[in-house]
């Protein structure tokens, strides 16, 4: 059924697929399969079920919680060859695409009609629709437009026991349950997504962007809290701290006022009149925090250049140290000032570098630790600091993850957020769709059968 070059194995292949963009834990597959049709996906899943072999779906492998790591070995099912846009329906603002199509390609296919696929994770040029669905990906503009879930009309999946299923409707809503809402964000545990109908959003008529340099972290986080509290819903509200600016300077020669402790990037979009009104109000609020500089983009080129700092920030971190681990936690925006102070204190105590670049508007933090993963002590420090920060997020009434997912990274922390009865409910949701143990094992739900003894092994490979 599968063509000859669709099945790959060997030492190099095993190595290449032993992790995604989360590198602290690694586990090699026995083989990698690259199906080109949904029938082929189904055939592979059925074979795995019949042979009792675990399988793990993988898109571009840009996930940041180890969701595509084949935790118990077995087969990695790559969706990268499911890369066709099957149907574009412009009048109804929707599109049907296979799971391996990149997020950007969706928007590119309909750009001529003034439409786009609104979720915009930083990885959008490479990350796939299937991966975005599995992780319920966010991005800078999800503050206003929402994460992936509200933009997905239907999901077509090969269920964990090998059946072809399509959940959802081609128009939003409808009577009864919306099972697609459970599949989106299920981190590949509830089946292999093979295609989806997505809802397309008109490209906003007007956009206004400003980059603000502030002298203290406190001023910046207070400014964020004030903008949010004003009731304006910016399209994006991003924050970058001093260490990010340092990396940007080293990497791209970007210059900011000397005493800048934090940068805020704010954007309003929508109908011209509303944008103008909101933007003016926002600038007035920002001016109250004694900014060192306030750069408003006068045209599209300048807007792009203001975004450069945000988009290239994490990548630039690669120039400061061999390894970075980007954490992901959520707090209520009103607690941002205290939370950031806590992050710096923890990093200082553990003796590791930390930089912050994140979606401040929805309180979605991304503390980014930079270190050398060849030194086991530093890895330990990073894991410990990460855990401490996560616990603080929970203490402040937040969440373990805003967009990277639980994966293997935070599976051990689920108990910190959810009690036994809560976890029982989670297990029942899993069992409803995936009563077996083969589809993407050891993720999201702690203490799954056969996983605990493997955790030591994953970490062993990393160092």
């Amino acid at each position: 059924m599968l063509t000859g070059d669709a099945v790959r194995w060997g030492a190099a292949v095993d190595r290449a697929y032993d992790c995604d963009a989360y590198t602290v834990d690694r586990s090699a597959p026995a083989a990698v399969v690259l199906p080109s049709t949904e029938q082929e996906v189904q055939a592979v899943v059925r074979w795995c079920v019949a042979s009792r072999v675990p399988f793990t779906p993988r898109g571009a492998g840009t996930g940041l919680s180890g969701g595509a790591m084949p935790a118990l070995g077995g087969v990695v099912i790559s969706t990268k060859r499911l890369n066709r846009i099957l149907e574009v329906d412009l009048p109804n603002q929707r599109l049907h695409a296979e799971a391996g199509v990149t997020n950007s390609a969706l928007s590119k296919a309909v750009a001529h009609a003034g439409l786009h696929f609104a979720p915009d994770p930083s990885s959008q040029t490479v990350s796939t629709l299937g991966g975005n669905i599995a992780e319920n990906s966010g991005g800078p503009h999800t503050l206003k437009y929402g994460v992936t879930a509200p933009h997905i009309l239907t999901v077509r999946v090969v269920s964990p026991n090998g059946e072809m299923q399509e959940f959802g409707r081609r128009v939003v809503g409808g009577p009864g349950p919306a099972w697609e809402r459970l599949v989106v964000g299920s981190e590949g545990l509830l089946g292999v997504v093979v295609s989806a109908w997505v809802h397309l959003t008109p490209v906003p008529k007007a956009v206004q962007t400003v980059l603000v340099a502030l002298p203290t972290i406190r001023a910046a986080s207070d400014a964020v809290a004030s903008v949010i509290a004003s009731g304006i819903v910016p399209a994006a509200l991003e924050m970058m701290d001093r260490n990010i600016l340092m990396a940007l300077k080293v990497a791209f020669g970007l210059e900011f006022p000397a005493d800048t402790a934090a940068l805020l990037l704010l954007e309003c979009d929508g109908e011209p009149k509303q944008v103008e009104e909101d933007f003016a109000r926002m600038l007035a609020i920002l001016k109250g925090f004694a900014p060192l500089e306030l750069r408003v983009a006068s045209d599209e080129a300048e807007r792009k250049s203001l975004w450069t700092a945000r988009k290239k920030g994490i990548g630039a971190m690669g120039r400061l140290a061999p390894t970075i681990v980007t954490h992901d936690g959520v707090i209520p925006p009103s607690t941002l000032p205290d939370m950031l102070e806590f992050v710096y204190a923890v990093a200082a105590r553990e003796g590791i570098g930390v930089a912050n670049l994140f979606h401040a508007g929805d309180g979605n933090l991304h503390p980014c630790f930079y270190f050398d993963d060849r030194d086991p002590k530093q890895v330990e420090s990073v894991v410990r600091a990460g855990e401490e920060i996560m616990r603080k997020c929970l203490e402040l009434g937040g969440s373990l993850t805003g967009e990277h997912g639980i994966g293997v990274e935070k599976v051990g922390l689920m108990h910190a957020m959810f009690g036994p009865e809560d976890m029982a409910l989670q297990r029942r949701v899993k069992e409803l769709f995936n009563p077996d143990t083969l589809c993407n094992p050891c993720k999201l739900i702690p203490d799954q059968k056969g996983c605990v003894e493997h955790m030591v092994r994953w970490r062993g490979v990393a160092t």
């Binding site: 030492a11 190099a12 292949v13 290449a16 963009a21 840009t62 790559s78 060859r81 990350s127």
Partner: protein
């Protein structure tokens, strides 16, 4: 070339994966081990003793060395340097050495190509190809080039000579495309420069890309001895230019399009006769990704009066030629060529301009297979033909 160790170079990759969709071999295979991120990981693993170098080899062999990933990389990973060092670790295969010894010696190359033209079929004998690549050949044996009959230039209309520049004749270039050199000389004269031909020698680019760093270094040393000190070195072959710009000749080396644009060629082009033709531009990898030269050739081409310049979809994605890649990996190279050709046809262009002999010959072969509705020219040929009123 970078002086860092392989471990340091590879450790800058944070595995974000932002390079994936810019990698031609990942785009067509979808396989992690055929991507920049995958290859860097394999090299790092081999260097750290967690993987046999031999296991990594086939995947490094399949890398085009186009360096599109460097353009995409937000962390500034020096992929080209990693690849060269890794290939040095692996050691060049005898077949590669054989190929390069012929190609990069212009006397040998001329002889081989002339002999090739006398053999049946257009391609390398199948047995030889099997030895080199394990696959049947796809690339035609190149033909020894000739110089077209250019009209004489009215000396009185030319500006006075204001300086002299050196023009790299190169190894393959002077055998295959003497006409491109002639076009370059004429264009340089049009902006007031006399040309000093740097005849002998090879810059070592092809050796370096194959991991034969010592041979590459020796060739560069020989070349340096032939250069008049301080004179700008003009290069019209992207691969050579990119290697020279990473050597200690980087201060003097300029791609011809950069130099000509900076010296007022646009005005000269604009004063030419109208050329009604639709033209597109293919970015040679070693110009776009290796040297960051993207806008200059386009500005020059767009200046041609009456021209309809159309952008090529995926213009800066490798065509599969990649030095000697189309001899070593015929099947993948052919898939990339077909992809490139599809976009060429979509563009509706009558002329494809490009700035590197490898791309030139490879895309021209595809144009020939399609029955010559599309003409493939070096950027400078197209421009000089426009100036001489013979493009359309």
């Amino acid at each position: 070339m970078s002086q860092h160790s392989l471990t340091d170079l590879t450790s800058h990759c944070i595995r974000c994966g932002f390079c994936l969709e810019d990698c031609p071999t990942f785009k067509i295979t979808g396989e992690e081990h055929e991507s920049p991120r995958g290859r860097i990981y394999l090299v790092r693993s081999a260097e750290e003793g967690k993987l046999d170098w031999d296991e990594a080899r086939p995947h490094l062999d399949r890398c085009l060395g186009c360096r599109a990933c460097e353009t995409a990389c937000p962390s500034g990973v020096e992929y080209g340097a990693i690849l060269e060092l890794a290939r040095e670790r692996l050691g060049a295969k005898p077949a590669t050495k054989m190929l390069l010894s012929g190609l990069t010696d212009s006397r040998k190359a001329r002889l081989q190509f002339q002999l090739g033209a006398m053999m049946p079929g257009k391609r390398m004998p199948a047995l030889l190809s099997k030895w080199v690549s394990g696959e049947t050949p796809e690339a035609n044996i190149p033909r020894v080039g000739t110089v077209r009959e250019w009209p004489t230039v009215d000396e009185s209309a030319l500006p006075p000579i204001r300086g002299e520049v050196a023009l790299l004749m190169g190894c393959v270039m002077q055998v295959l495309y003497p006409d491109v050199h002639e076009a370059t000389r004429r264009l340089l004269r049009r902006v007031g420069y006399r040309v000093h031909d740097v005849l002998g020698g090879c810059c070592g680019a092809l050796h370096a890309h194959s991991g034969m760093t010592k041979e590459a270094g020796d060739r560069l040393t020989d070349l340096k001895q032939q250069l008049p000190p301080g004179m700008p070195l003009i290069v019209n072959s992207a691969g050579c230019g990119s290697t020279l710009k990473e050597s200690d000749l980087k201060e003097q080396t300029l791609d011809a399009s950069e130099f000509l644009l900076a010296n007022g060629l646009v005005e000269v082009i604009r004063s030419g006769r109208e050329q009604r033709v639709r033209l597109t531009y293919h970015d040679a990898c070693h110009l776009a990704h290796g040297q960051g030269v993207r806008s200059q050739p386009r500005e020059l081409l767009r200046a041609i009066p009456g021209i309809e310049f159309v952008e090529l979809e995926e213009a800066d994605t490798c065509c599969g030629s990649a030095g000697i890649y189309n001899i070593q990996q015929p099947l993948l190279a052919r898939r990339l060529l077909e992809r490139k050709w599809e976009f060429v046809q979509q563009s509706g262009a009558q002329i494809v301009a490009t700035g590197n002999p490898g791309c030139h010959a490879w895309i021209a072969q595809r144009a020939e297979e399609a029955g010559q509705q599309v003409q493939v020219l070096h950027t400078l040929q197209a421009i000089e033909m426009a100036c001489s009123g013979m493009l359309a």
